[in-house]
Subunit: 355 residues, 2 copies
């Protein structure tokens, strides 16, 4: 059976959840999917790096509490993350990038992806930075090196959004995409509808773990801005930079505004949208919008996120599902690995045609 050796870059919640999935369900997945997965390297800013050409024994490693994990104490381990060396030189088939998103220049994740592709390794990532800021260049680099660059988890965790656009819409013309893509903002707006003030809603979201200590990226729309860039670039073929996407968050929205709108059947949502102009170029924005009750995104609430595709022959098709979550995002990586496996079959097929 085909086996893919993985190098996990970043060992926070998402890659840890992927490792758990492999440890707990690997045999079953292999039987269903037709390929096996093995982890041969892990790097992490805090825990260091671990390289085991014969496969990392995941169970004991996952039994250690994340904060206590120290690869330097293990065989094949080191206290340094050694990302470049591991990505370039460890003989892995796929580099799984799940470090933090840097919205400014995407680093260090962009370098991680580039090193991997240059070394002829497939990449799957849940990191918005490389996809939003350098998606086209990285895809082109992947193509030149005969490998795949997969990134389903960069938008709506494992909910199939990018892959729906790529695989389900053959023959359709997609004219616009819009989404409710930030669970924290969505939760806060819902609490404003219920009568809470803005500051109280934010504090509640923080207490529940939905919002970070500094909620700026969520509340001011910066997280959605990156996702809109990804949708515009991947689905509508644009090449937008951050400065091309005006971004207004929800911090200017008052509770009374939200309640008055609700009384008239309108629901305020933080909407990221991208649409093709008549001249073929693409315009995109992030802004709070009071949506009428019948709008496909009006009923999307709390941690559920959704993306609506506007098409010529089918009208509007909407996909909704979890917007975040460690297991949900790890599933995005698994779906990327399935795509890599399928594409390997396609390559064999193309070679057969050429031959």
């Amino acid at each position: 059976m085909t086996r893919y050796d993985l190098a996990l870059i970043g060992f926070g919640g998402v890659n840890r959840a992927l490792a758990e999935l492999i440890a707990e369900r690997g045999d079953e997945l292999a039987a269903e999917l037709g390929f096996a997965l093995r982890v041969v390297a892990i790097t992490d800013l805090r825990a260091g790096s671990l390289v085991r050409g014969d496969g990392v024994d995941l169970a004991p490693l996952l039994a250690v509490a994340p904060r206590e994990l120290d690869f330097s104490r293990m065989e094949g381990g080191s206290a340094e993350p050694r990302n470049e060396q591991v990505i370039r030189h460890v003989p892995a088939d796929v580099v799984v990038e799940a470090t933090f998103t840097n919205p400014d220049d995407g680093e260090p994740a962009v370098s991680h992806v580039r090193w991997a592709l240059e070394a002829g390794k497939h990449v799957c990532t849940t990191n918005k930075g490389p996809v939003a800021l350098h998606g086209r260049a990285l895809r082109e680099l992947a193509r030149r090196n005969g490998v795949r660059f997969e990134c389903e988890g960069s938008v709506l965790s494992g909910t199939p959004v990018l892959r729906t656009a790529r695989r389900m819409f053959g023959g359709l013309r997609v004219s616009a995409v819009e989404g409710v893509m930030n669970g924290t903002s969505n939760y806060i707006l819902g609490r404003l509808e219920s009568g809470l003030g803005f500051a109280d809603a934010v504090a509640e979201a923080q207490a529940l773990g939905y919002a970070e200590a500094d909620p700026t990226a969520d509340v001011e729309g910066h997280d959605v801005q990156l996702k809109v860039m990804i949708l515009a670039n991947e689905v509508l073929g644009a090449e937008l930079r951050r400065s091309d996407v005006p971004c207004v968050g929800i911090s200017g929205i008052t509770a009374s505004q939200v309640r008055e709108a609700a009384a008239r059947g309108l629901r305020w949502k933080l909407v990221g949208s991208a649409a093709r102009r008549p001249d073929g170029t693409v315009e995109a924005r992030v802004a709070p919008v009071a949506l009428p009750g019948g709008h496909p995104l009006a009923g999307v609430s709390g941690p559920v996120n959704a993306v609506a595709f506007h098409t010529d022959l089918l009208g509007t098709v909407t996909v909704s599902g979890p917007g975040a979550g460690r297991v949900e995002t790890a599933y995005a990586l698994l779906s990327d690995l399935i795509s890599i496996h399928q594409a390997a079959g396609e390559r064999v097929r193309e070679e057969a045609y050429v031959g």
Copy 2:
């Protein structure tokens, strides 16, 4: 370039819309999709049959009003539908079945599909009857004959529901499926919320062309029952018969009931659902349900339909889009043809492996 020769069985709204798509956009689709489409036969209960091995010239035929179409006046035409002869003996690659749905035994569509598969022809269909009543047997017949049986349009027109379940959920366990899958019932329930009485809402739906003169199949849930059987059988691997699926429609729902529920934040919907029991078997039903506002199907209104998949790793993923429409359903057939083309590539690939 690969070309698929099509035999269109039934020339009502859907296959006519497919023919329009081929006539108006065929070259463009071929450039995008990598295959060309040509119609070599059409049969219709009213218009008769038309066989043109060198390809039917679609434009003049589509210029004739549907009611005035008479194949017997055309070269290669006959006043008789001659379905069996055309399906079995005309050298088409794909038989496109879009006749009426017979919920009792699926005929004559089941025979159409069987004849085609036996003759080694791919089938794509929008007809619920064959899929709901004989899906497994027909798929097995297709497999034995080395051809495909595709049926995306049997649920929610071209909205990718069956194909999402089949292609996007690798590695997931789907425990239940539920949907709002009948636009007429949905429209009527919406009008009850707005204050109309049941009889008036039905009359309005009929006046607008949403409901048929005899609205029984829509209002009593029989249409949804077939779709639930399709979801249960195709997505959950069940083998349910109609008698296994209890079916209650919306005719017992009163306007006051709907308005009282709405005042409490509940939305009545006609829900078709199928769920796996702990013992592995599948139970399914059709019934009106008062859904809480946060339910993924609560906001689905009017002609929009939706199907929610409940999974282990991803939680609930919902796909919504048009539930009907001639162009929307014709797109389902195009998506089936894309699948047939992709599967042809897969076969080449498998042969390459064997070689």
